[in-house]
Every structure is written in C-alpha cells, then in structure tokens.
Homo-oligomer: 328 residues x 2
C-alpha cells in the first residue's frame, strides 16, 4: 500500500464504447450485450439494515425462480441436513459410483457475503454435483448484516470439522465462486491454523479475497465488467463489521501461504472486476511454493457468461473436473 | 469472427484517469508512470520503405546503447556463429555445469517482426542465458520489410534443424517475447508439420500470435498498456506481405494444436495489449490436451515493467527456470 500513488502520472483514458469481441461464443456475446444494458446496482450504506433487507428481497425475487428451475432440471438427489449444527444441502449425482463416492466438494455459495442463501445455495450445490460428478455439501452459512464476520467462516469450518468424521481429508475439496471463494480460502487458512488436517484442494472461482479492493482491475475493469460493475465497499463493511479488512480471515489474499496451503485452482476472466484478486493470489501462492493453476477466459466478466449454455462456462467445469480428479 | 458485433450493445466507458496501483512494487509503479508520459508511436504505412528505415534507425538509437550496457554487465560468454546458414549469438553463462550443459534455449528476439536484430538480439540472448542458467542460441533472423514472411520463420526452423545434430530435442526449448513468441509458436507448428522431432517445450512471453488483432484486450487495454499503446496493423501487414493473416504460420493462434504441440509456458499482464492473445492460446492448448500453464502479473504491460530491477520481472525468470527444469 502507498499514499504516493497520487504523485505518479496516471494513464488518461478517453471515453470509449467497447463491443463484445468476435473471439467468444455467440452466447457469450449476447450475455455481454445484455449486461451492458443493465443498470448498475446501488448498494445500501453499510449500516442501513432496512436497505439490506430490501436488497436481499430483491435478490431473492430475481434468483429464487432461477434456482427453482435449475433444481427441477438437475439430475442429482438433494437432501437438507444439519452438519456440525449448520444447515447444509447434500447433493449426489444420479448413478454416482465408487471411487467418486469417496470424494466430497464443500461448496460455498456466492452473493457478496450478504445474499444467496436458502434455495439459491441449494440449487448451486446441486448443479455443481451434477456438472462435476461428485457429492457436494453446500453450506447455508449465516450472513451479514444479521450475522457478520466471523459467523459465516465459523459455519464453514464447523461443517468441515464434521465432514472429517466421514471423509478422508485427502478426498475433500473446498471451493466456491465470488464470496464463496473468500470463505473457501479463509476456511483453509483457519483449518490450517487450528491444526486440523488440510483439505486436498481449494477452488477459487473469480474470488472476492480482498475486501480492501486494492487490485488494479477494481478500476481498470469497472463498468467493463457488466456483472459486477464496481466495487462492493458497503457490502464489505457490513460483513466485516469493524474488523480490519486486511485480516487474512476477512481478506484471505493477505494470508501467509508459506505456512502451508492446499493445491489451488483459480479462475477469472479478462473483464472480471476480480481479475487482480485472481492473479495476485496465483502469484502469492506460487511464490510460497504452493501448487496453483490460473485459468483466465477471454472477455469473461465476474461469474461467467450469464447464460447456462455459453460453452465457455462449461469449459470451466471441464477444467475443474480434471483438477479435482488429479488432487482429490 | 462475426460481422454482427455492431448490432450488440457496447459497454460505454467514460473518460478516466488510472494511476499505478498500490499492489505492485515501487519500481513497477515508476515504470507505469514513466510510460504514461511517453507519446504513442506513430507507425509508417505498410509499404513505406523509407518510413520503416527511419523507424528502424530510431529503434536502434534507443535500444543499441541499452544492449551495449546489458552485454557489458552480462556474466556469459557470447560468440557469433553461422548455424544452418543463419547468424546466431550463442551465449553460455559462466560456470555452467552438466546437466544444464545438455540443454539449449532457442531464443527468438522481439521487435514487431521488423526491429531488434543485431546487438539487441545478441544482448537479449546473453541476458537470458545468465538469468535462466542455460545456453541460449539467439537467432538474428531476417526481417520485414526487406525480408517478409516466411523468411524469419524459415530462418528459425533452419537453426532448429541444425541444432538437432548436436542436441537431443528433449533438451531443446524454443521461446521468445512478443514477435519472438509469434516465431516460437509458428516454428513449433512448422517443425511438427515437417515431421521433425518436436522440441521439449515452448515459451511464449506476451506473445504476438494473432496478427488479425481480434482479441478483446486490443481494445480494452489500448492506451492502458503504456508500452504497446495500440495495435500494430501496418507492422503486421509489412511482415505478412499479402499472406493471409489467419495462416497459422503467420498467426499461430489459429493453429490446430490437437495434432500435437510441446508443453507451453505463457506469460502476460493484466494491462498487456496481448493479454487476450495469451489467454486464448492457453485455452486453445488446454482444450487440445496440451500441457500449458498461464502466468499473469498484476498491472503489467507488454514486455514487463521496463526497469531491470522491478522484482516482478525477476519473478518471470524464476517461473521460467522451474518450467524449463521440469520439461527440458
């Protein structure tokens, strides 16, 4: 960090219109064009509890029907269970055979650490189970503002601790997208620091691992990322609730990975607001001697190309299946 | 490719000033600030021979003193040899012991396929030898406009063919930066298509592998990349000299990698004009089942952070040494 940046000459960029490129699928181009027309979200102030309640209701109005549709089409059996005192959705793809049965993916849903619980978490876990061909345990962790940091993280670690009674840690993967990537990385750090056995691997999809939002692409990809058009400072403040944003359990990018960390898969896109998060994490893990691989998709914004049928979205699953098959 | 992009809603970006981020080294921030103040290069028209002569003279006036200084400081012995009828600079780091002696790095210099011959190629080969700890053969390939495509490519393959008489292909690496990355990838394709044994590995540093410049970052990173502030259409036309820019030997991104390709190391930066080239190549290789790894540095423009002492530049060498040690 530095206060001297203001002294250094900036790049002066003129106003520009940037169309979807020809180098991505037709579905992906349509997703970018649709996103370009969508208005940016206006977030409540960090302490505006009524604002967050309304924002959550708005998010559910959009996402719950999507989740219902995905669940109805999903070829996985889904049960709701209490694991370590936390509500979880356990999804098993139809026809799953050993040795895949020995593996489990502890899946942590996205949603800025304030949204995405309930049926959304359930559907995302079920879809991941089907696409990746393994059992998933999707954690319905407590969320801000009612339950700020460290409630969600503690829930995730409690579920992991309970899973260790059934699963060999060499067959447990922890991962998630966006806020789920924050919790996956932070949980792996807390698991290590607590002296529990590390999971086999960590999956960080366009991860929200720096709540200080210092990375370059928070500015260079602002608005260009049509899904996450700008940073989330009030969401982050509502989650952190006064804790230091550079605490590695709040922003795991600031962790010390030389003390040990599992092999890690990192995904991003060239238009992703969290591209800097992703490349900084990759470099930091590599410098610490951790096995880590980086995959970046052309022109992809945060969380992929909206539509389910964009082939680029399925490529992420292909890489993930290979990665999990190698390490877990 | 599509002619329908104009029908799709663009992202409308306002004018913006973007300072160097706090997430890179002080030296890297200084390099970005210095680059921000430098004017963009005005390139000659493709057929303006006098313009290219003047541009080459201007390039030499800037780079030859840099090359002299690097050569004087370099701890490697350098000899000039004719290999396969092509002038090459063979550099051996002082004190090189077996088994490193058995390896050779066929190094192809950058310079938009029109610049960077002579002492610049010599110095870059010598510096690579010292930093990577192996023998390098830097090819002083013929260049456009006097010698357009496929002269440079044929020179590189001729040198490789000759090296096969001395070196086991399992110990030969072909690589280069920018235009050198173009020739490295194209040479590997030509070597394969000719039926010669493939080299052990390919190194593509911020590679100029798509002379159609279709990638998204040709627009999103224009001007933001302070080294290469925009595309090089007239350079590319002068090099291609009427050949189809989508010919895989001209733009190796269009190659068919399912027919075989060596393990490949790809480097780029989030502000690199060639970031799309890099991620598209990575994805294409992975989909073809080729071992390929992607490394992207935070806020890095084309060809690294100018100053030799930016630690990020040295990190690239660290990763390259490991990669070459693994595959060659």
């Amino acid at each position: 960090m530095s206060d001297t940046d203001a002294d250094l000459a900036p790049v002066r960029l003129p106003a520009r219109d940037i169309s979807p490129p020809s180098t991505i699928s037709a579905q992906a181009r349509q997703a970018l064009a649709a996103g370009a027309l969508a208005p940016a979200v206006i977030w409540p102030a960090a302490d505006d509890l009524e604002g967050w309640r309304l924002a959550a209701a708005g998010s559910e109005a959009i996402w719950n029907p999507v989740a219902e549709r995905l669940l109805a089409a999903c070829r996985a059996s889904v049960t709701t269970e209490q694991i370590g005192g936390v509500t979880c959705y356990v999804s098993t793809p139809l026809g799953l055979e050993p040795p895949a049965r020995a593996r489990v993916y502890l899946y942590l849903h996205g949603g800025a650490l304030l949204f995405g619980d309930g049926i959304y978490a359930k559907a995302m876990g079920a879809v991941s189970a089907e696409r990746l061909g393994l059992t998933t345990v999707s954690v319905d962790y407590r969320m801000a503002p009612a339950h700020p940091f460290p409630a969600a993280l503690e829930d995730c670690v409690a579920v992991y601790r309970e899973l260790l009674k059934t699963y060999d840690p060499a067959h447990i993967v922890i991962g998630g997208s966006s806020a789920g990537g924050n919790l996956a990385a932070a949980a792996a750090l807390m698991i290590r620091d607590t002296g529990l056995p590390l999971p086999a691997a960590v999956v960080l999809l366009t991860p929200e691992i720096d709540l200080t939002e210092a990375g370059d692409t928070f500015r260079t990809n602002a608005l260009l990322d049509v899904v996450l058009k700008g940073g989330l400072p009030t969401c982050n403040a509502a989650y952190a609730a006064g804790h230091d944003l550079t605490d590695p359990y709040v922003s795991p990018l600031f962790g010390d990975f030389t003390l040990g960390f599992p092999p890690t898969f990192i995904q991003s896109g060239t238009r992703d607001l969290f591209l800097s998060n992703s490349v900084l994490m990759h470099r930091k893990l590599r410098k610490a001697g951790v096995e880590a691989e980086l995959h970046v998709w052309e022109a992809m914004p945060h969380a992929g190309f909206g539509t389910d049928d964009a082939p680029e979205n399925r490529e992420i699953d292909d890489e993930l299946r290979r990665f999990i098959g190698r390490y877990a």
